[in-house]
Subunit: 364 residues, 2 copies
């Protein structure tokens, strides 16, 4: 909701946002970023975030959060907690590898970010924290500075790690952001392996990968392959792969991996998600209606790979358009009237062996 909606039209009605957030809450997804507390002057799409959080019906067990970039935003978030979750309480430091992006996005310099670390660490010590997170943003490259090297990234992580360790606080998590879509699967793998071998005690990884050049799904799969079982991997994605920010130079063409494509990939890999993919696909369709244009979704156009009684009817006529391809969710009416080129009934010994109910019904 935050990543996706912030770059769509500011004219989208509050009631549609409520509808979308409530539908998303029913899919089984457990972590939803509902919006951001930022200036309505520059991000009018988020002007109604307070009203949205007042109006929608939260689902128990779903963790709702909202982005706050400064203390004013944090105060506004406090007012809405709950339904917003109180947060995990983990103290975190981070820095942008690109100091042009942070200047454009938050009117700060990289040096400003680094100089804020000691305060964060001291506050954590005072609060008796025992674990912390470190992070880098615009990690693999930037539209303003080009690509960054592994040693640049590791250097900025190591400086944070040293501060926390000196304060007696264990680093348990690394967050890596890529707002400008510079991720590459080999570089993601190299980065994760470097962290694992340098600090084996870090087992939680949070990747926020954008998809400007189509590599986010490939890099996400590389991360799934690279991290071993003792690790936890948190992946940010958006319904339909929408999203982006006006500061990064790519706008709506920024994108992420579509959530529904990731859920489908995980299911196919045998990884349980607890997400109802059918319900999630309906949210994609609703999103496209509300934003008024098609998204980058794959799975919501064709449905997941069909099995059992969901296998397609053998005599299905020509399917040519995107609308006709929706038969997987709306039924045969999607392709009503489409031509059938076959002179005789389609038969198949392999299909017969499946003994499907739909085929028996057709034969009777």
């Amino acid at each position: 909701m935050r990543e996706g909606m912030q770059i769509e039209s500011a004219e989208i009605r509050l009631e549609d946002k409520v509808r979308l957030l409530e539908a998303l809450s029913q899919t089984g997804l457990k972590y939803i970023v509902a919006g951001s507390f930022v200036s309505p002057r520059w991000t009018p799409q988020m002007a109604e975030v307070d009203a949205l959080l007042d109006k929608f019906t939260p689902v128990p067990g779903v963790n709702y959060s909202a982005l706050a970039l400064n203390s004013r935003g944090a105060e506004r978030a406090q007012v809405h907690t709950p339904p917003l979750s109180p947060g995990d309480g983990l103290p975190r430091t981070f820095v942008h590898v690109c100091d042009v992006f942070v200047r454009r996005n938050a009117n700060r310099s990289q040096a400003d970010e680094i100089s804020s670390w000691p305060d964060t660490v001291q506050r954590a010590v005072a609060e008796g924290k025992i674990e912390a997170g470190i992070g880098i943003n615009a990690a693999w490259g930037s539209n303003w500075l080009g690509e960054f090297s592994l040693s640049e990234r590791m250097d900025l992580l190591e400086k944070q790690h040293r501060l926390w360790t000196a304060a007696g606080i264990r680093v348990a998590e690394v967050v890596i952001g890529d707002p400008m879509g510079w991720n590459m699967p080999d570089a993601v793998e190299e980065q994760l392996l470097a962290i694992r071998s340098t600090w084996p005690e870090i087992t939680r990884f949070h990747l926020h990968l954008h998809n400007q050049r189509g590599t986010a799904p490939i890099s996400i799969y590389a991360a799934l392959r690279t991290l071993t079982e003792e690790c936890e991997l948190i992946l940010d994605t958006t319904v339909g792969g929408i999203g982006g920010c006006p500061y990064c130079g790519n706008g709506r063409a920024t994108g992420m991996m579509p959530t529904e494509d990731l859920v489908d990939l995980l299911h196919e890999l045998g990884i349980e998600t607890g997400v109802d993919l059918d319900a999630l696909i309906e949210v994609v369709i609703l999103t496209e209606e509300i934003i008024g244009h098609p998204t980058d979704t794959h799975v919501a156009r064709t449905g997941p790979r069909p099995r059992g009684e969901r296998l397609y009817a053998m005599d299905m006529p020509f399917v040519e358009t995107f609308e006709q391809a929706q038969h997987f969710r709306v039924g045969p009416s999607a392709y009503a009237g489409a031509p059938s080129p076959w002179k005789s009934v389609i038969t198949s010994p392999s299909r017969d062996r499946l003994g499907l109910q739909q085929d028996k019904a057709g034969a009777s």
Copy 2:
């Protein structure tokens, strides 16, 4: 041109197809499938393929081909050779793992395909061939029968391999098709490794992967990672990722990995392609104009990762829409009039160190 255009509107004008084929010929791509010789009754999009091949200006060094599914098609192709290339002369056997798909698509059964193998082998022997190719289509699964196992695939490959070997002909190539987008990166890897370990002499692989569920780019990367240096990998892709067939049940939602995204991925991996990505991006834009709807392209929306003088201007204003994101190819006019939220000039020590001409020009 074949895979993409066969599922788009049949109303696309011949002169636009000529324009597209000629533009594609200028990108540095060396293999272009220009169309197919099929029945204009069921594939009216290909009714003008003869006229297209008569009219366009071929570029020397580019290999043009066209699909022919039967002897009538092969005769028509012969008339247009050149500009069509004569083919590589490699005798090939193949079979669909799904016999519903082959029945729907070519009105044959899997048994028909298998029974045609001995003739193909005998003809190759008579012609003194020393190498051959084997292939399976709908390899990983089907919208009509569900998924197929490694042993089902290997069994069908082994039967072909045995025939060729018994005839004294070496198998040098495997073609694997996936018209219904059932590919998964782990299954692709497993399949390629199984072939390599069973028949180490097979070093040429040709993958035709569709993208119904968004996994084709991930599977292609898995294939690039899996195959070692002595192997050759042929990958089919389409401009903008368009394409599909009316028989597979998904129509235009079938898709492939966009050619421009693959070229960009290869360049980023340090693999030379000889393709002019800028020229290819112009072909994507032209394609979208001609077919009348946006494609699945990523790289043509944002441009490749910018470097050197292509790095974005630090004072670039808000970029929100897809049109504004086109600044990478049309220049600052793309975002003319967009708001700038910054009260002071954006500065960055890291950017200064790059010493870009564009920044010097701006400062003078």
